[in-house]
Symmetry: C2
Subunit: 458 residues, 2 copies
């Protein structure tokens, strides 16, 4: 079995396991109590906070432990927005943030706030200028991930932080994907992270609020964790989280080199061995362990299922919307193909031999899925100069498959009109044109569904 979905949750690091076991004995009591067991628990909690703060690069009293990375984001965004309510009610996020950030933004909008979603390049990166352009006098907060969770692209946090600093706006950095690899550079104001992404246990997130940042935690609270995370501390897990963060950091530099080489192999060899594949995300400015590609004429769920049968656990599309059938908001924002999407995220220690086995198995698996989806004969008719493909009622990737089959039958300069009522076609037909050098001319409302117009260019 090869688990290649570390960006969802990394397996428990041996140091985390060891620390958790030790802390189960000494860390079950209430750290706010004055008796022996309470004092022991308090010492463990203090030591964990010191260790985590050192890894983040902040003061211990700036760091609160939360029950998850998601809770850290929800609390961090709501608290930072409330702290600057007098300044205004405008929030800036990138279009490719984790769903926890986007959900917080939606709640803020529902309460009357305004949100600007900064677009990204085809590689998935924002640029600092777009953040600068999005700034308004009433901007209360900006949010940016340190690196994207779906495609691995590293964001220009330090440059965006400078822009924010100049505008007097705090920057919240969601560092969930990168904190195990190193500190987040730049002059950020609020930082969030999640322990189970670096090999710590589940049940622990970090929320760091720099001194001087206006912050007003919302909802009911208590005296624990600086009033930012109410409820009894999840102490054994906190101890394990801090210990494993220190451990993965010690191994990070060397392991990053190794994983970077393995993902570079996947980036290079998948397009060689599998036809009609688009590798997405920045080739250079990327996390060491993540590589994402999309396969034309394949649906992601079937592909995942077949890879699982071969012993590979990978992810597809947006990591947090995979239970819904909407295409990944990240791939959509990047304007790349979303069909047949696979994210490989290697955990620390991933074996080279398993990566090689994956590369060996993948072409056959993709070919098998393509064959299974097969080729329902396209219903095509020429109206005026346009070949019409009726893909109504057919789900992704069928509309694109049918488009690909007929494009060669019209002359260069001729047009194909694809009728589809599957929402994913809106994303995938333009992406296919981009990949194939065909010209996408746009969409229009059809009698049923939507008509996508493609002009044969080559």
């Amino acid at each position: 079995m090869s688990y290649f979905d570390a960006a969802s949750a990394a397996p428990l690091h041996p140091v985390a396991r060891q620390a958790l076991l030790a802390a189960l004995d000494d860390g079950w009591a209430d750290p706010s109590r004055l008796y022996r067991e309470g004092r022991k628990a308090r010492m463990l909690l203090d030591a964990a906070r010191e260790a985590a703060a050192e890894a983040v690069g902040c003061r211990a009293d700036e760091l609160s432990f939360t029950p998850s990375g998601t809770r850290a984001v929800h609390t961090g965004i709501a608290g930072a927005l409330a702290g600057r309510r007098r300044t205004g009610r405008h929030l800036i996020v990138s279009a490719v943030e984790h769903s926890s950030v986007l959900h917080s933004a939606e709640v803020f909008e529902a309460e009357g706030g305004q949100v600007t979603r900064v677009p990204v390049s085809r590689q998935g990166a924002v640029d600092a200028g777009s953040y600068e352009a999005a700034m308004r006098p009433d901007t209360a907060l900006a949010c940016l991930q340190s690196a994207n969770h779906e495609v691995g692209t590293v964001q220009p946090v330090a440059a965006v932080a400078e822009v924010c600093r100049a505008a007097g706006v705090p920057l919240l950095v969601d560092a969930a994907q990168s904190l195990g690899w190193g500190r987040v550079e730049g002059d950020w104001s609020v930082l969030t992270a999640s322990a189970h992404k670096w090999g710590g246990p589940s049940g622990v997130g970090l929320l760091v609020v720099r001194k001087g940042v206006r912050f007003a935690a919302q909802g009911a609270s208590d005296e624990r964790e600086s009033g930012r995370a109410p409820g009894f501390e999840n102490l054994p897990a906190i101890v394990a989280a801090a210990a494993s963060l220190r451990a993965v950091r010690a191994e990070a530099e060397q392991e990053a080199v190794r994983l970077r080489e393995l993902t570079a192999r996947i980036r290079a060899r998948v397009p060689e061995s599998v036809p009609d594949v688009e590798v997405v995300g920045d080739a250079e400015l990327r996390l060491p362990g993540i590589v994402t590609f999309s396969c034309l004429y394949v649906d992601g769920e079937t592909l995942l299922h077949e890879l699982d049968r071969e012993g590979f656990s990978v992810s597809s599309g947006s990591s947090c919307t995979s239970s819904t059938l909407t295409p990944s908001h990240v791939l959509k924002a990047m304007g790349v193909l979303s069909e047949g999407n696979v994210r490989v995220s290697l955990p620390a220690g991933a074996a080279e031999a398993e990566v090689e086995r994956f590369l060996a198995v993948l072409p056959g698996v993709v070919a098998g899925v393509r064959e299974k989806l097969g080729a329902p004969a396209p219903v095509a008719a020429v109206h005026e100069d346009v070949l019409v493909v009726d893909a109504l009622g057919k789900r992704c990737p069928i509309p694109v498959i049918e488009l690909a089959k007929v494009i060669g039958t019209v002359p260069v300069g001729g047009r194909v009109r694809v009728l589809s009522d599957d929402e994913a076609a809106r994303l995938d037909i333009p992406a296919w044109c981009e990949m194939r050098g065909q010209e996408y001319e746009g969409e229009e409302k059809a009698e049923k569904g939507t008509a996508y117009l493609v002009r044969r260019a080559t």
Copy 2:
């Protein structure tokens, strides 16, 4: 070492430890994923939910796992109030609820809601009639603990639930202290609990919302746990929580008999061996393991410190306000003595010999603290018919000590006027009068601090 503070946090049950270890291996992946590791995690999560629901007496799809009992209460109250916003903005709680309930009520008040705090008897119990009287046409929710966390008194949940049902108002029951002992009877609507109170790990609470109860979770959410507890599930801990709940329930009946006998011993023998003690809480309708008493002329913190030196870990005053210096809101609402307060809460398996050792050690410890606090000669002067005791600038329990010293020096029918600027005197002087059969005549603003007037009755 004897840990007698199970009402704060119980040591980890061996079954919890065992289940946690097993789940660390099989339960670290994302249960919403479709690959092998995700399916394993999903099976563990489903099985834990079934087991917990069976112990609660609800359907599995009514139960969400939260990061703590406190989070369950915060989410439960906010969600139930929002779900009935159209009915009105009135909330009923008892005066002796856990701080998490009271904090939620304060937030609700700050947002414009109205809160009725139902008083309790001197034994700490509410009565159903008071809830009935508190009902209004705009009442959105009523809250009641299953049993009190400080004094162990069991509340008449079933009767209050009937009153609520008749009024068409949902009842939220905070079952944190009792769920390990048995199901909460009665027709409640929402229930909350906390795993580390029954010997489960920290990091897990339960939130149960009965089908048909209007509920609108507030703030950002995601697709996990019915939208009521966002963030990656703390799965190994959830598995351990469910397994240990089942285990403690299997032992509950027998262990309850044993602990009840041990706490009955404390209830009976402390007043025999320690002078000037008031045992508080209901003598019959109480949890098996909790017994609380207050010692005149002693301050709780010193007493706890001395007991800790003797190897006993106990608690004092309110479990969640012990870091502040205000007297427990529970003891205050009961109108009993708060000074020198000790809560003994025996964990399952507490050794009889250790309880006997506690009973043997306590009289000397209390006597020692009393001697240490000693007797600063009261500055007394007779003004008209009143003996004035100037205890300004002196902290609890000194004002009461000085009152007790001089009461015998005025004739029956004569008065003592105690000047004090310590807030605790407001609670403890009336309580002392009640204990001693003296007449408390009330307080008035003095030039400095407050004057408390006591008439010698016996």
